[in-house]
């Protein structure tokens, strides 16, 4: 029994100390106000003053910083724009990923493990490098513009890098495996005789695809969309490397508030609101997973 | 000491001076609201091959897991060698178990699997080697010692599991559906092998099975379980010939059950009871050692092979009824006839096929007579 308690206590204590408590600190600082001091917020908790200190500390906490977020339209625009960019990228990733997953599921069984490995392999290579690779392709003197000019399709180089288009490409590229894998998993399990039955009952191949294959892969599609959408909202690396000055994403805003403006309360409040926004898709995703597990018994 | 008898029959349970190896005393096990074991008291003796028999969910596996130490009773005591074993953890019990899935360690060779328990006892190396060799010989696995579990067949895996659990020479060996994963032919061979090994090693075996044929073949005594209770504990022949209840009669083998009202007729002989079972039919004459009241509800249970089938009315039968053949199940060595009586009852009768099929006496729709003696069946209270 003692052993069991120790087994639980060690990882539990670690997560409490390095996950939950840090987050409570974020919440506390979000409720504080910006101050020109070190640390740059007020009030600070002074336990040496005992109960009195605790009382003045709690009295100093307020929602002033959150109110500030609503007054400056930078923040709500950044949240909206993050959700919008994430949603568009998710749709694009689905459009690109579904045909790949479908092709993999219909490939000869002896090829499938290799194809699967080819999808997973980029996932193991550095995220930063994969984003970096696109800078060379998309920049005004980059490979894409060189080819397009060389083919005579355009006269002047297209400005793609440092726009939202580049951000979309970056998100689709880096998160594509997350879209392909769950869809492939549902398609691969699908019974081929269902399609034969559909055709036997008078469906054309195309309508059998839309009426049988797509509905049956619904849970994979939903899972894949959430797996792209959720991390894309809080993305920082892609907008800061591929996006331009007009690209507004909340991860970038948070970073700049903290490192450039040294406004810890605002950065903390931005983080808190971001987490509240993320709770919705995370709960929906969990419910989808649960439903799928129940369906599989 | 067992009482000296001319045949040297092994029956320690009949000897009041014998102390049991295992004793369950009013054991109950509950999982939440569910009662898996309901107030069981049971004694198992040294060198017994004891079978726990019942359908799945009857509590037989729970009973065995309590012996191994993986479950603790909610109420009551379990004694091993007169010692309460409740506080002893599984790794400190002189009890070993052969798992239904065999639970062979996939990363260890056959040799290492068998040596596993011996190494835990910190025995000297040569002693371990000698014991493993002995076990390999006992289970005829010498050639496979260096193989990994996935490199041997199902039957060989079963023998490795047996050797591993016997290696520590436990006081008690528990076998959880040991033959369940084998195909029928292999299972029958292995049953005899198990009995042989049990005899050679002198270990007490407790086997859990849902296969009544298997229990009857291997066991010295069988405990039939239903919904967490013991229904009957007796030798296989007693269980078969004189089942204690309709449940046991029905669970073990094939049986005809006829319901009726009992009337004791002591003047016709000791234990004679008549059963009025249908309008316009003579009562069934049966003998029983149970007491029945007049008019008490009772069931007459008779095995199909004890029912004789003849074309005409037999002269000297205690019981005889006329019927019509509804169905014939030809099983090679025997045939089972389903005979419909005028009352609508269907009675099964079995005959051994000592002649070739072409000369078979009966066919569908034939009018036949069924007959049996007064002692051929048993009268049960339900």
């Amino acid at each position: 029994m003692l052993r069991r308690a120790a087994l639980i206590a060690v990882p539990y204590a670690w997560l409490l100390a390095l996950f939950l408590i840090p987050f409570l600190i974020v919440l506390k600082i979000a409720l504080s106000d910006y101050a020109l001091s070190i640390p740059p917020y007020a009030p600070t908790l002074d336990l040496s003053e005992g109960w009195e200190g605790l009382r003045t500390f709690f009295a100093g906490l307020d929602f002033e910083t959150f109110r500030f977020l609503t007054t400056d339209d930078l923040y709500w625009k950044a949240y909206l724009s993050s959700v919008w960019i994430a949603a568009v990228s998710t749709a694009l990733a689905l459009a690109v990923g579904y045909p790949i997953a479908y092709g993999m599921a219909r490939a000869a069984p002896e090829w499938r493990p290799t194809l699967l490995m080819l999808v997973i392999l980029p996932f193991w290579t550095s995220f930063l490098i994969r984003v970096y690779a696109w800078i060379g392709i998309l920049s005004s003197e980059g490979y894409l513009n060189q080819i397009l000019i060389g083919l005579g399709l355009i006269d002047a180089p297209l400005a793609i890098l440092n726009t939202n288009v580049a951000v979309h490409i970056g998100i689709v590229y880096t998160y594509l495996p997350f879209m392909i894998l769950p869809i492939y998993a549902t398609l691969e399990k699908m019974d081929e005789s269902l399609l034969e039955a559909a055709e036997d009952l008078g469906c054309s191949r195309v309508s059998a695809f839309w009426r049988v294959t797509v509905p049956l892969s619904k849970s994979g599609i939903i899972a894949g969309c959430f797996l792209v959408f959720i991390p894309a909202i809080g993305e920082f690396v892609i907008p800061s490397l591929l996006g331009g000055s007009e690209t507004l994403m909340i991860g970038k805003v948070l970073w700049e508030e903290f490192f450039n403006n040294r406004d810890w309360p605002v950065a903390s409040a931005v983080a808190t609101v971001l987490l509240l926004i993320l709770v919705i898709p995370i709960v929906l995703f969990q419910r989808n997973e649960q439903k799928q597990r129940e369906a599989e018994g | 000491m067992a009482q000296p008898s001319p045949q040297q029959v092994f029956a320690p349970w009949e000897d009041p001076s014998e102390t049991p190896l295992i004793e369950f005393r009013g054991v109950t096990k509950r999982f939440g609201d569910f009662t898996a074991i309901d107030d069981i008291s049971l004694s198992i003796f040294r060198r017994e091959f004891f079978a726990l028999l019942g359908p799945s969910g009857c509590g037989k596996t729970t009973l065995m897991r309590m012996l191994a130490g993986f479950e603790t009773p909610s109420e009551g005591d379990i004694l091993l060698d007169r010692q309460d074993i409740a506080p002893v953890p599984p790794n400190k019990r002189a009890v070993n178990m052969m798992f239904q899935s065999y639970a062979l360690f996939p990363h260890l060779s056959v040799w290492e699997n068998i040596a596993f328990g011996l190494k835990r006892d910190r025995l000297p190396k040569d002693e371990i080697a000698a014991r493993v060799t002995e076990m390999l010989r006992l289970t005829r696995l010498e050639k496979f010692a260096r193989r990994k579990p996935h490199q041997i067949s199902g039957g060989q895996r079963q023998r490795v599991a047996l050797a591993r659990s016997l290696a520590k020479a436990p006081k008690l060996l528990l076998l959880d559906e040991p033959l369940g994963a084998l195909d029928k032919k292999l299972r029958q061979d292995t049953q005899f092998e198990l009995m042989d090994i049990q005899e050679k090693t002198g270990t007490t075996f407790v086997i859990v099975t849902h296969d009544q044929e298997e229990a009857m073949t291997v066991a010295s005594r069988v405990a039939v379980m239903d919904e967490g209770r013991l229904v009957q504990v007796a030798t296989p022949d007693v269980i078969y010939e004189t089942p204690a209840s309709v449940y046991v009669a029905d669970f073990i083998g094939d049986v005809n059950l006829l319901e009726g009202r009992a009337t004791p007729v002591p003047e016709a002989g000791e234990g004679r009871v008549d059963l009025a079972w249908a309008e316009g039919q003579p009562p069934i004459r049966a003998t029983t050692d149970r007491a029945f009241d007049k008019g008490q509800q009772a069931w007459f249970a008779i095995r199909p092979e004890k029912v004789t089938i003849t074309p005409g009315r037999p002269d000297e039968a205690a019981n005889a009824v006329k019927g019509r053949i509804l169905d014939i199940a030809y099983l090679g060595n025997i045939s089972t006839y389903h005979v419909e009586l005028p009352t609508g009852h269907v009675v099964k009768a079995q005959t051994a096929n000592t002649r070739r099929i072409a000369r078979r006496a009966f066919t569908w729709e034939d009018e036949v007579w069924l007959s049996w003696t007064a002692t051929a069946g048993v009268l049960l209270e339900g």
Partner: protein, 273 residues
Amino acid sequence: MRRFSWFNATSLTLGFAFLYLPMVILIVYSFNASELVTVWAGFSTRWYGELLRDEAFLDAAWVTLQVAVASSTIATVLGTMAAHVMVRAGRFWGRTLFSGMIYAPLVMPEVITGLSLLLLFINIGLDRGILTIILAHTTFSMCYVSVVVSARLVSFDRALEEAALDLGCSPFEAFRLVTLPIILPAVISGWLLAFTLSLDDLVIASFTAGPSATTLPIKIFSSIRLGVSPEINALSTILIAVVAVGVITASLVSKRSAIRQAEEERAAVRAEG
């Protein structure tokens, strides 16, 4: 039979081209002699040489390696423990909170994880450096390890542990002698996952690293911000090659052993019949 149409073939070809072409271009241009990354001026390995002479990169690589080895090892121990708790411990006080804390870091934006850990370290007065990056990386990668290991533990036959106990093992011996060797492949993939996550992480390291410790991703990020450089191309090529060789070798090894196991099982069945 499944029908593999021209549409399937096209989408696979285009899809994999999309996934791999950017990396292929990166690798090819790392051998470019020119200082201008986008203009090909002949084959050269000069940027690899420059990279190996660049002290700042080598220092960053050394820091990254130390952090990755330390954090992935601690994370594997903690994550395996956590997986055991999740799968085996049954009910205990605060179980929901525990599993929440295991899954939350998987979906938590890195900026938030990084920010919260930095604020913690400042609050408790811990100087930022290698130690704080290790603590941060261990925290989020132990959750990944625990997910990988619990997936394996769920399908683990408990009878094996019971058999070990039955044969005289203490619970810890049963884990060390039976459970651990069998789940070892999952534990190793957990370690590898934690290792690559740590190697790869920019955001959390940027928050938790002080001026004294710069990891490779931080160094790469700051030089990419100034534009594409052939040195970074060379570095990327090395990293891609290491990962590709590692992953392909691992999958070939596991595939071969799966094939051998299947053959041996067939042979055992034939031998019996």
